[in-house]
Symmetry: D2
Subunit: 313 residues, 4 copies
């Protein structure tokens, strides 16, 4: 009999994060623990209350999720072990009986609210907004009356858990909106490469030379490595100081990636390696032939022969 | 008698934005119009209800202000004409009579809440958080009872407008936290250079070649231009597509800056020039002698002589 | 009736340079003046004794012709106006009656000698070498006895002017050897572009920053300009100081080339523009669409509008 | 008793090459074998007739010595083990009794002749030139009458071996002219670093991507390595194909140099490593602190820990 494991996620039931967690086969039939924020989820992992935590890391509309990126930058001992994509759309829900014409005040998490800007402008131009702590809290606050609002913007999953009337569906401005989630565990050796992997890093730039970002990007480009995410975040101690969150195509076991990581480490005052893990879209990583593993291995053999005074071939 | 002008700002009275506006000498004795959000402030300018709008653009803790950056990227016809810095700190306020030991629920704008994380952890570890729409709304909601909270995180200026008890001052995690504001007007010719100027741009990258960001940065570095802000923002139509908000040291009247702008324009599918304006810190821009204006002028004279077949000196 | 013009070339009759001059239609029926060296040919032009001079500039086996490159670098007031290619091969000639078995001492210009190394090794392994001043002087010296040699390496054309026995033909090591010649006139406006042009420069690098060559190359690569020649030459005052001779695809009238020239001029302590002229092979220059002239023109219009405060489109 | 070794050099006695060989302490009291050309000297080494060969590699006036560079590029199995500098100047010598007013015809090696251009123009403007095979052959040919010349340009050392009248000293155009020589042995492990070392390479560029030279230079610049020689040489099979001779500051045992060599090897179709050896000027190599050996070692340790899932510090 296998051990029962706990997975933390931003709750309550019905959030997009729960949808992401439902995509993890190895989490099925284990305990899912709803938590209140990203920090709590990651603390659960670090303090071994949970085996892993599912957290949102990037949204196609809003960009990198600041609290996640900053938590990963400052809480050592974690590794991303998987990536999951969830289509993001929103519904407008009310207590049974309310109709659209009655809606004056709308409860919504600020991020969700921003994503429904166009629909609201067209359909409820004179509404007021009451902020809520999550896409579920908004709906529950309307249901139980703790939020003074007539309707709530919520994730579609909410109707599976509670009794609501749905006044409108797909009210988000962008039909293709997607949120990217990552599953985070304690530091562990990266899983074997699948050929469709990505590597995540947080890199602080030295502030004493101005071309530092250029130099960081060159560490990847000169080894044929493509970046799928580059997000600046302030370090927080002064205006103008940044760290960068980077997703790079490939695995730390790839020679070109290992070489790029060495280059990054040598010039950055601080690098956080977040992990090498399979991409959610399972797309095989393409790279120029000249950056293949065997080219790196052959060059090392050549160098060794030179140093030992062996004849070149 | 001069015409009376209107200045829009994120209200109500007591916000950090109002503090920023109070730094503008030419706004004194004119009308200050509080608005509810950045979009409204900028619409006031575009539709000529206001002469200019003061908006927050970057915070030393949280980074670029997404809504501002996205509004500037998508609302054409605007120009930044000034920059202002405001030290950001927070107070914990209550209705007169409440003491710290009574505080269970705290109202706070999410950004302010995030910046007081450490103080709250140490002093009120078991608190609950009720989100509010602004640093003023949080306090007013506590005062008038519309927010079910015992205390509010607010900007210090609030106590000049309303009767509160201040339970704690400077509760922000970072003593040096600063927010940068910009004053935005309708498109106009940039003011003359002061020697201490910055130029703001929003640059969309072509997605057909991977080294595009590298190339954009080189347009500046190869002309000796330093960047003080580089912030990625998703374009919003798909994961992995970014635009970049850039603050570059110098003025569009500087030869090196004009040349860099030409380079940027040639390769970017879309560039928004936000303006050249005096830096808030009035620090004179330094650059290598080889990028001085006269070097550019001399090279153009030389090229002209070559084309006309005149002898080289 | 047209004026009779003089063309200087490295003589005497029978040299490869004469073959190059015979490719110039406008030189037909004018005076061809044989001279002794490149310096004399260029002085003829500068002092207006000749309309133009034909000189060898690069050889596919030996590389750039040092004396030509150094003369062009140090004699101001000249422009390359045309380019010509001559297949280079060599014959072994003797006074009538000598047979191969008799040949012990071979007269040859050092460059020609070097190019026949393999044939000589196989056929005359025990020969001695007497250097001669040109590919014609070698043969004439054998004929008139002023060189103590039994045979001479010469250009094939020699047999049209003098009585020789040809002991062997095509004795050069490389069947595809080609020498590139240029026609040089006094400084004049470059001819109109043909679409198949090249631009020649000599660039001295600043010695105070180590990445100077990298920077020079980037001036071309960042404008989509390919280089067909890059030859280092010592400046001559100290070890380690170089100037570079550059042939770039395109014409000074091309926007991208003009922009690159401006960039080069700004950072180089000394640039000699040698001219924009049609390529010998008449191959149309290819370049990425993004470096087309109209892109440059459009960017300038955009910049002008920004500076004048006109609305962006 | 130590074994008697043979050292080949371009003879005969009295050449600058002999002066260079006299700077080699370990060659003292061994056999010095004069040879006729660079190819012969290197063959002596490869076929073990000689322990090492002294050959000229670069001249401050004329640049890289083509025959040496091409021989090193095409004869595998050799290593440079030492570097020596010789001040180059010239004397004008005659048979005893001849005075300057009598001199009409001058014998000179073409390279030496080119370096005395100014002196000859001022002092013997109407002279004729007879080329000679070396700086010694010119003088001997005048002495024994095999060259029809009145005087010879020669190396100063010639007067220690033969009876000449010296008509003029220091007739070279450049007082600081220096020739750089290298001592070449069979392939062997590089000697231990001295801190004042250089590394010599010959790198062929891939012809399928245009920025190849840029990329080669970046392999050095991105590791803080300065180049003291960069000389292009045609590969010889077609116009426009080059190999580059590179002298880089530092030793193959330096981490940054080893890493640069790996980078070069990975992208070049052919690299010849010529050796790491002490600089003639014994000048300690300077490099930015961030490229120190320990930075490389630390980065490798870090990478290894990541791969094994060990916690980061």
């Amino acid at each position: 009999m296998t051990e029962r494991r706990t997975y933390s996620y931003l709750g309550p039931a019905g959030t997009f994060t729960e949808v992401a967690l439902s995509q993890v086969p190895e989490a099925r039939d284990h305990e899912w623990k709803p938590v209140h924020n990203v920090g709590e989820a990651l603390s659960d992992v670090l303090e071994e209350r949970s085996h892993a935590a599912m957290i949102a890391i990037e949204n196609s509309v809003e960009g990198g999720v600041s609290t996640t990126l900053d938590a990963l930058a400052t809480m050592p001992g974690l590794r991303i072990v998987g990536e999951y994509l969830v289509s993001v759309n929103f519904v407008l829900v009310t207590k049974p009986g309310t109709v659209l014409a009655d809606v004056r005040v709308i409860a919504a998490h600020p991020v969700a609210y921003a994503q429904c800007h166009r629909w609201l402008g067209e359909n409820l131009p004179r509404h007021e907004h009451v902020p809520a702590a999550s896409n579920v809290a908004s709906a529950l606050g309307v249901l139980d009356g703790t939020l003074h609002a007539d309707a709530a913007i919520a994730a579609p999953g909410i109707v599976q858990h509670h009794e609501f009337d749905v006044l409108a569906e797909k009210i988000g401005d962008n039909d293709n909106a997607v949120t990217r989630f990552v599953l985070v565990a304690k530091t562990t050796a990266p899983a074997e490469p699948t050929g469709a992997d990505k590597t995540s890093l947080i890199v602080e730039l030295p502030d004493d030379h101005p071309g530092a970002l250029l130099e960081m990007l060159e560490q990847f480009s000169t080894r044929g490595i493509n970046l799928s995410l580059l997000q600046s975040r302030p370090v927080g101690d002064a205006l103008g100081r940044y760290r960068f969150v980077v997703d790079a195509d490939g695995h730390i076991h790839d020679e070109r990636m290992a070489d790029a990581l060495l280059g990054i480490r040598r010039f950055s005052p601080r690098v956080v390696f977040l992990g090498s893990y399979p991409r959610a879209d399972r797309k095989i990583v393409q790279y120029p032939e000249r950056y293949a593993d065997e080219i790196f291995v052959e060059a090392r053999d050549w160098l060794r022969a030179l140093i030992h005074g062996e004849p070149e071939d």
